[in-house]
Amino acid sequence: MEAEPLLRVSRLKKSFGGILAAYDLSFELRRGEFLGVIGPNGSGKTTLVNLITGFVKPNSGQVVFKAKDITGKMPYTIAGMGISRTFQMVRLFYNLPAYKNLIIPLCSSRSKKLWGGKYGERDDIAIDLLDDMGFERDSQVPYKVAGSLPHGYLKRLDLARALALRPEVLILDELFSGMSMSEVASTLPLLEKFNEEGLSIIMIEHRLRELFRVVDRVLVLNFGMKIADGAPAEVMNREEVKKAYLGIHIDLV
């Protein structure tokens, strides 16, 4: 275990006009951890992702990645350093074929470095990645225009796009929302496999049953503040957490 955490977030604060979206947020992520982030709607989960990945600049606080301060850097710089993310509202290029969507991250200088010699065959790399995601290589699916694909495929395409950068930290923003049970069942083992191979994952989710099966640790947010941080079972028994999720019966069986 390394002494220094891979990613450290300290006292992040962000307000949009009158709305305090994040307040005094701090946590650490160790290499190889699988961290879950949960909380009711509007608790600031997506803002947290935006703050870490540079899409939004914090009013105060710090984000340190691999001992370097990345607070407020441009999103492409942060992505180039190894933190990749998916979007809650899927952001793809709908008029391009599915595999062409992956060409764009594959054109970055990070990809050039990491994919090495294979860099010249970007089309092949894209088809390979999609194959891993369940877009059969032999079928028409990878070549179909992205806009014509069903929602579950789009979500996995977004995931493939994030993975094309071979990140060290992957942040997933409600990946499973809108996915069917079978799609979730086929994607979860994939995430577990990547996690075992060394990818650290931060996963924001509402589907707690599936989430708790894979995560080591869980962060609970409410109204922009962290109210709990620990193992799933322990955290879900806390009073504050139960109150935040007022009315939701959580069964961990």
Partner: protein
């Protein structure tokens, strides 16, 4: 001392140029780049009423303002209707319309030293070492009146409120019953009328020619951008900055440098702080 007076007069003239443009763009979100063309066109119209129809000046002026307002109204329905909502297309289409009109006027011979509108206030007074004619004082008075009118209209009337709603969020405005197209064309008409009014008081100070159209557009843009859109205070401050800047440049560097001040101001502001001094549209810079 004279620097102060000339600077003041120049600033108010600039504000007059900008009022109509600011109403349209800053408040209703319509980029009307034919503003300058409408300005000079109203002068041309008034000249025709004066000389071809022999009407007294005040009648010619009023008619000209009305006609220009109608023209602005029509511009919306003919030009902007199809491209409403795409700011860039609005800009290009109105700019092309404006330039087209200006070229038409030039082609018909509307340049050179032949055209002017008569001064309607003769005589002048002396303030310290500076002699000012009454016309210029009238211009300053009109300028102040129009700016106050703009501020009151935008902040205190229902129609003005509707204009601002449109600029901020068209969908919501539509859903509360504000008719987008009607309001849009009204604001264009009002903007055109303000341009024409400014023309009626300012043009008598010099000769008319079609190249003034582009100049006025540049001035209006400069004032609006420097001061920040959707801010009446910004418009006032912007016009003073550029107004005094021009006079200072003319005094200390050379008269030819006057036109460079607004051009450089636009470029500088857009590079350094795009939303202008009092601008509330931060969206120019960062968006998620």
């Amino acid at each position: 001392m004279s620097l102060l007076i000339y600077g003041l007069i120049n600033s108010v003239i600039l504000a007059l140029y900008t009022v109509g443009f600011s109403l349209c763009y800053g408040i209703s979100g319509i980029a009307n780049f034919s503003h300058g063309a409408l300005y000079i066109l109203s002068g041309f119209t008034a000249w025709n009423f004066l000389n071809a129809a022999g009407l007294p000046f005040y009648l010619a002026a009023v008619l000209s303002v009305m006609i220009t307002a109608i023209l602005g109204f029509l511009f919306y329905w003919v030009l902007l209707l199809r491209v409403r909502g795409i700011p860039l297309a609005e800009l290009i289409v109105t700019f092309a319309a404006g330039m087209g009109m200006l070229e038409l006027l030039t082609w018909k011979g509307f340049y050179g030293m032949r055209y002017s509108l008569p001064l309607f206030m003769k005589g002048g007074i002396e303030i310290g070492p500076v002699a000012i004619d009454f016309q210029r004082i009238f211009v300053v008075g009109t300028g102040v009146a129009l700016v106050v009118f703009l501020w009151l209209f935008v902040h205190h009337t229902r129609v003005g409120l509707a204009f601002r709603a449109m600029a901020q969020n068209e969908r919501t405005a539509l859903s509360v019953g504000i008719e987008s197209d009607w309001i849009g064309s009204l604001s264009m008409a009002l903007g055109a009328a303000l341009a024409a009014t400014a023309a009626m008081v300012i043009l008598p100070l010099g000769m008319m020619e079609s190249s003034i159209g582009l100049e006025v557009l540049i001035y209006a843009l400069a004032v609006a951008i420097v001061g920040g859109l959707e801010s009446t205070l910004g418009m006032i401050v912007g016009s003073f900055i550029i107004g005094f800047g021009q006079i200072a440049a003319a005094r200390y560097i050379g008269a030819k440098w006057m036109i460079i001040v607004p051009l450089a101001a636009i470029v500088l502001v857009l590079v350094v702080k795009p939303s202008g001094i009092f601008g509330k549209f931060k969206e120019l810079e960062e968006r998620v």
